[in-house]
């Protein structure tokens, strides 16, 4: 009887230590946390939107227009609503960007070492690359989606070209049935390795700032 009671008491504790749910509860509790490596594959902030008030949720709109709205000529032109949320995104401690290189998507955070599954032939080791085509710019609480890409002037993402490397040599043996002939195919693909130097979000593009005459304090 006592043994059964102890088993019953221990069972809920065992359920609570399931790693994924534990991580989620931990992240809910703390305001700043760094995503473990595996979770970096999650492109959008999962169910945290239920915790936020409707006013704070990410705007599903395309990037702001290139020129400030020209409806009011006398009054100071107002900033697009997406730009105000961009300020909030900029203030977040950790951010990520989904970038497209030669059509391939990569979810990146500053400090990442990216092994591209191809070689960038026009780049040499030591060069600094500026990544221009971003589909998503996000953080724990906000996500900005491009349509199809985010305006280049809203972010600066730089990467250093670390090395040109290749995979270990692998051989594939191809043989048909009831035949003795074995064909061997060698593969040794070349890869490029980048280190993401920085990810800067520019919440008010210079042209808009000049037009509105606002001084951003961030």
């Amino acid at each position: 009887m006592l043994l059964l009671r102890t088993i019953q008491r221990s069972l809920p504790r065992l359920q609570a230590t399931d790693t994924r749910s534990f991580l989620k509860t931990l992240s809910c509790a703390t305001s700043r946390f760094s995503l473990p490596t595996l979770s970096r594959t999650i492109a959008t902030t999962p169910h945290f939107h239920t915790l936020l008030t409707p006013a704070e949720t990410s705007p599903p709109t395309s990037p702001p227009p290139k020129t400030p709205p020209t409806a009011q000529s006398n009054a100071a032109p107002t900033l697009h609503e997406s730009l105000t949320l961009l300020t909030a995104l900029k203030a977040q401690p950790s951010k990520y960007i989904t970038v497209k290189i030669h059509g391939f998507s990569f979810l990146l955070t500053p400090g990442d070492k990216v092994v591209l599954p191809f070689l960038l032939k026009d780049v040499k080791v030591g060069d600094i690359l500026r990544l221009t085509h971003a589909t998503t710019l996000g953080s724990r609480d906000y996500t900005m989606k491009g349509n199809p890409y985010i305006d280049e002037r809203l972010f600066e993402c730089r990467a250093t070209f670390l090395e040109e490397t290749s995979e270990p040599l692998r051989k594939k043996e191809k043989k048909k049935r009831r035949t003795r002939r074995i064909k061997t195919v060698k593969s040794k693909h070349r890869y490029s390795v980048l280190r993401i130097k920085e990810l800067i979000i520019i919440d008010v593009p210079p042209a808009v700032a000049a037009a509105t005459g606002n001084n951003t304090t961030t």
């Binding site: 970038v99 497209k100 290189i101 030669h102 059509g103 960038l120 026009d122 780049v123 040499k124 080791v125 030591g126 060069d127 600094i128 690359l129 500026r130 990544l131 221009t132 085509h133 730089r158 990467a159 070209f161």
Partner: protein, 99 residues
């Protein structure tokens, strides 16, 4: 002031359906048009000859009239996704000429 639109004088032909299983004659027409595989695009000047060829295999093609033909290189370039990067600062190793 009437705007004069330039006369569209080229057919833009794209092979949408494959020629596999089609008759010899139809495949011959595709070969004459230069359509080697599906989704290949070719440009031919508008003429009764070309029009006749198109009519022979019209079920396999998507045809439109354009003003200017594109070269194969231009067609290929249009298909490519953007590179997504540019070299902002060349590294020091670029100066070292490897012999």
């Amino acid at each position: 002031m009437a705007s004069v639109t330039p006369k569209a004088s080229w057919f833009k032909i794209t092979l949408i359906r494959s020629g596999i299983g089609m008759t010899e004659r139809q495949n011959g027409v595709l070969k004459a048009l230069g359509l080697r595989h599906r989704m290949k695009t070719v440009y031919h000047p508008v003429s009764p000859d070309t029009a006749g060829m198109i009519m022979k295999v019209k079920e396999l093609l998507a045809v439109s009239e354009v003003d200017k033909p594109l070269t194969p290189a231009e067609i290929h370039a249009k298909r490519q996704p953007p590179k997504g990067y540019y070299v902002e600062e060349p590294g020091a190793l670029r100066n070292i000429e490897s012999s």
